[in-house]
């Protein structure tokens, strides 16, 4: 399969990349790892006539922590997330999630920025970023702005990203050392998108849950932050009854379509199962830490 023709531009700065996007309007797209865009171009479901390749922009690489905030460049690959000692120590849910994305070859090239900016409800990192209450740095003609992951997604492939803007980094407040975390993903096979998946981040204090955030992947036209379900867990010991209640509350906000992964009812039910598993796993990790 051969994609449509396009002109190719490799900028030497983010400013040049933004200028290129602004100059070419709707016909232009940024190219990160390309593992969502190139397959769509090969199917001619996407036909941008100008591509700006972000590879080689060193400002978009790197993982660092300053004053309790971890910042990850948009072009950091899934493989680099998995290999990062900093993330393994301080934000282990990213490593856990990356390991469930696609396969080794795709993880060599696929980027965090592409995964969160693309707006595909099947992408795994958006729900994780919602659970972490991460924010995205968007760079456009007027400079930088920040937006919370929880307000970034409007619908399938519809995000707060404006024309001429590039998502340049993801930042997360470093969670407390002994936080609990889990990403539970049900999929048919390696490389598949989730039938349903859930991300949980929680902290404990005095034997009770002090904070909890639950988010869901691929059970609606966008990733979902399960606010009510999260609140139900806070202040409790997170026993079986609470987990059941939270799973039900999370299930209630899902609206999946039926597809090859199963009918909608099944995927809704599996969203609840994933929430329950992720809560149990996050709790035991927080207790064991």
């Amino acid at each position: 399969m051969i994609p449509g023709s396009f002109t190719y531009y490799r900028p030497s700065s983010i400013e040049d990349a933004v200028k290129f996007l602004i100059d070419h309007g709707d016909e232009a797209r940024p190219l990160a790892g390309g593992h969502s865009l190139i397959p769509m171009m090969k199917l001619r479901m996407a036909a941008p006539t100008h591509l700006v390749d972000l590879r080689g922009l060193s400002a978009l690489t790197g993982i660092g922590e300053v004053d309790g905030t971890i910042t990850i460049g948009a072009m950091v690959t899934q493989a680099q997330l998995q290999a990062s000692h900093l993330l393994t120590a301080k934000l282990p849910i990213l490593r856990e999630t990356s390991a469930l994305i696609a396969d080794p070859q795709v993880r060599s090239v696929g980027t965090l920025g592409g995964n969160v900016a693309n707006g595909d409800p099947g992408n795994d990192m958006p729900a994780v970023m919602m659970a972490l209450d991460a924010s995205y740095v968007l760079t456009g003609g007027a400079g930088e702005r920040r937006i919370e992951a929880r307000t970034f997604y409007n619908g399938a492939y519809d995000t707060a990203l404006q024309a001429g803007e590039i998502l340049t980094a993801v930042s997360v407040a470093t969670p407390p050392r002994h936080h609990g975390y889990a990403y539970e993903k049900l999929k048919r096979k390696i490389g598949d998108y989730a039938t349903a998946a859930a991300a949980v981040i929680l902290t404990l204090g005095d034997g009770k849950v002090a904070s909890c955030a639950i988010a869901l992947t691929n059970v609606a036209d966008r990733p979902l932050f399960a606010e009510e379900a999260s609140a139900l867990v806070v202040g409790t010991a997170c026993n079986a009854a609470t987990i059941k209640q939270a799973a039900e509350a999370a299930t209630a906000i899902t609206d999946p379509s039926g597809d090859g992964r199963g009918p909608a009812e099944y995927r809704r039910a599996m969203a609840g199962v994933m929430v329950a598993r992720a809560l149990r796993s996050a709790l035991s990790r927080a207790q064991g830490a």
Partner: protein, 170 residues
């Protein structure tokens, strides 16, 4: 539209040889390898980044060359299955493993399997069976059921670590 798009120069070092060509930006890396420089060991299987038959090394990482433009590899070093044998032309331990353990039947997936496994063994020189299976999860084989491919990689790992591999092919 397409005739107006200018070809641009790319330089890719393939199996140690610097290859310079003018290509359309939309040319996929796998087409560069197969059509421009006539190395047809790299296969096109599913053409949708699932099957891994097109796997090559790009600067030491395994990538699917059907899901990358040649221009993205400009300035990079690519290694294909043609570059896998030892310098004297004898089979590498991994190639020998595939031969000794019958790690192929029709052979279509084999170049991709070999390229992926070669990087896997560099990253993890003595993998467990589970690590091998997870490591080759992006490569599909429709003949072998993977048993002998896993054994082939175990054979290579054993040989590279100075051990004998005792198991027989199935």
């Amino acid at each position: 539209m397409s005739e107006e798009i200018e070809k641009i120069p790319v330089t890719i070092t393939v199996n140690g040889k610097k290859m310079q060509r003018f290509v359309e930006p939309r040319m996929l890396l796998v087409h560069f390898i197969r059509d421009e420089i006539s190395l047809t060991g790299t296969h096109i299987g599913c053409d949708t980044s699932h099957c891994g038959a097109c796997t090559v090394d790009l600067d030491g990482l395994s990538v699917k060359s059907c899901t990358m433009f040649a221009v993205q590899a400009d300035g990079c070093a690519v290694k294909t299955v043609e570059g896998l044998a030892n310098a004297d032309g004898t089979l590498s331990a991994l190639q020998e493993g595939f031969r000794m353990m019958h790690g192929l039947q029709c052979g279509f997936c084999t170049p991709g399997m070999l390229m992926r496994a070669s990087v896997l063994l560099r990253e993890n020189p003595d993998p467990t069976e589970d690590e091998i299976r997870y490591g080759i999860a992006g490569n599909l084989c429709r003949c072998t059921g993977y048993q002998n491919i896993v054994k082939a990689i175990q054979y290579a790992a054993a040989k590279m670590n100075g051990r004998d591999f005792q198991e027989a092919a199935e």
